[in-house]
Amino acid sequence: MAIRSKALLAALALGSLAFAEAPRLSGADTAWMLISTALVLLMTPGLAFFYGGLVRAKSALNTMMMSFAALGFVGITWALIGYSLALSPGGSKFIGDLSLALLHNVGLENKGSVVDSILTIPHLLYMAFQMTFCIITAALISGAVIDRMRFPAYLLFITVWSFTVYAVMAKMVWGGGFLAQLGAWDFAGGTVVHINAGVAALVAALVLGPRKDFGRQALLPHNVPFALLGAALLWFGWFGFNGGSALAANSIGSLAFVNTMLAPMATLVVWALLDLTRTGKVTAVGAATGIVVGLVAITPAAGFISPGFAIVLGAIAAFPSYFVLLWRARSKLDDSLDVFAGHGVGGITGAILTGVFAQKSVNGVFDGLVAGNLNQVLVQALAAGTAVLVSGLGTFLLLKLVSLLTPLKATTKEEATGMDVTQHGEEAYTSGEGAILVADLPQTALKPKPQAGD
């Protein structure tokens, strides 16, 4: 089944025959995958700043912590069980088995993975690379629930979500499961990561309901430079995300890499021009958003389409997200940081355009509409639809389940005080005035100076 895996695909694309016998470990591929893994890991802190800059100061830490916490809770869960359920060679068309649980059989040789037929790096490194995808997918959801979801409930939610909803999606697409067999292609995670996160975010926003101030007060970004920094780190990390999805430092990796430069550039340009025509001003928040949308849209197509089409895809992708975003802000839907408009809509656009612009002459594996294969578009759409259903339903049930164990939403009083103080007992920016050291400190702390009293 692994035959559908993005990795093998990348290999096939090279038309290499070498893969008759098992591939050997490659230093060059290992070097590239080491750095790619580091790059994708960096995306989650990048997301923390992208999101954190867009919220009010009193929820900045809460927003950032939702991403940082995923690095710990989702990461460890992936190592213990998530990886096995998502990408073990065995299992069903929808979920893996436990053969790789607790990193059992995940060694330093290029053996035992679902992509063995083309794996040229240690299996352990492949597991780690995939881990970073699971982490950021879970963290992406937080953009819809920041500023009101109780932190313990959030931790429980993403932890379980990562080895259920995410594992199923990964198995179906990359584990040689249902969608892979269907003939759907997803180079680096348009379906598994972005549609999945976008839809989960939409559902979570609906289940939690809006913040008390939503629609009545302007909830403005407290630090736009942080959002720009986040977008920059996301872009930087995305080179590992897409470029690394070839699992090798080869031509397909290079193609995916360069398309990951070109598409968001085009989206950025179109987004800026849309801003300019609509309001007469090019906004910075818009630029940051445009970059991310372009990155989302190229993800499923990165290794499949020509650079020229990547520019076109990036340009087209600006429109649906731009207008859904405008609509959303006027709606009653408090998907606070527009995860659905950005990742859900952007992911669907990308998934379908992959079916449009793919060319066997480029990727060596399959043709899209431009090469006369209309069918691929339908398959891609079907896959996107399936993802919407699976993710939406799974997320809904899981949130309901969690709500039985612990309340999901903070009280309006806590919201008013600010989530940083109420959920984390900290403020992002403190001056220290009026902060009195409490009693369990050395006595001197209580009476700043002998004579201070009188």
């Binding site: 103080v421 007992g425 403020e427 009195i436």
Partner: protein, 116 residues
């Protein structure tokens, strides 16, 4: 002439502003302050350091009005800033001897009557 100084909750400031504008009070200045009163202090922890935050975020309004406007101004703030929970804030009315509008040199009442 009077100067109305009010301390209100940050989350209430936009409602207070609307109420004031409705009451035809259009000239004012606000600033962020931190206040102490009857509120219960929150505890915060930074690594090993635990602190009691004795100050809470508030917004201070400063509104210069002619005597006839004192009533409406105070009532508008009272209504819009009220939650009933400890920490709603205070209003102080101070006497003013002279007011100048820098742009025109106008004085007193003329100085605080909005330009139309």
């Amino acid at each position: 002439m009077k100067l109305v100084v009010a301390i209100v909750r940050p989350e209430k400031i936009n409602e207070v502003l609307e109420a004031l504008f409705k009451a035809e009070v259009r000239g004012l200045s606000i600033s962020r302050v931190q206040g102490h009163g009857g509120e219960t202090d929150e505890v915060q922890t930074y690594r090993g350091t635990t602190v009691k935050m004795e100050l809470h975020e508030k917004v201070r309004l400063e509104i210069g009005v002619s005597d006839s406007f004192v009533g409406p101004t105070v009532r508008a703030i009272m209504a819009a800033a009220h939650t009933g929970e400890v920490g709603d804030g205070k209003i102080f009315v101070l006497p003013v001897e002279k007011v100048y509008r820098i742009r025109t040199g106008e004085e007193d009442t003329a100085a605080v009557t909005p330009v139309l």
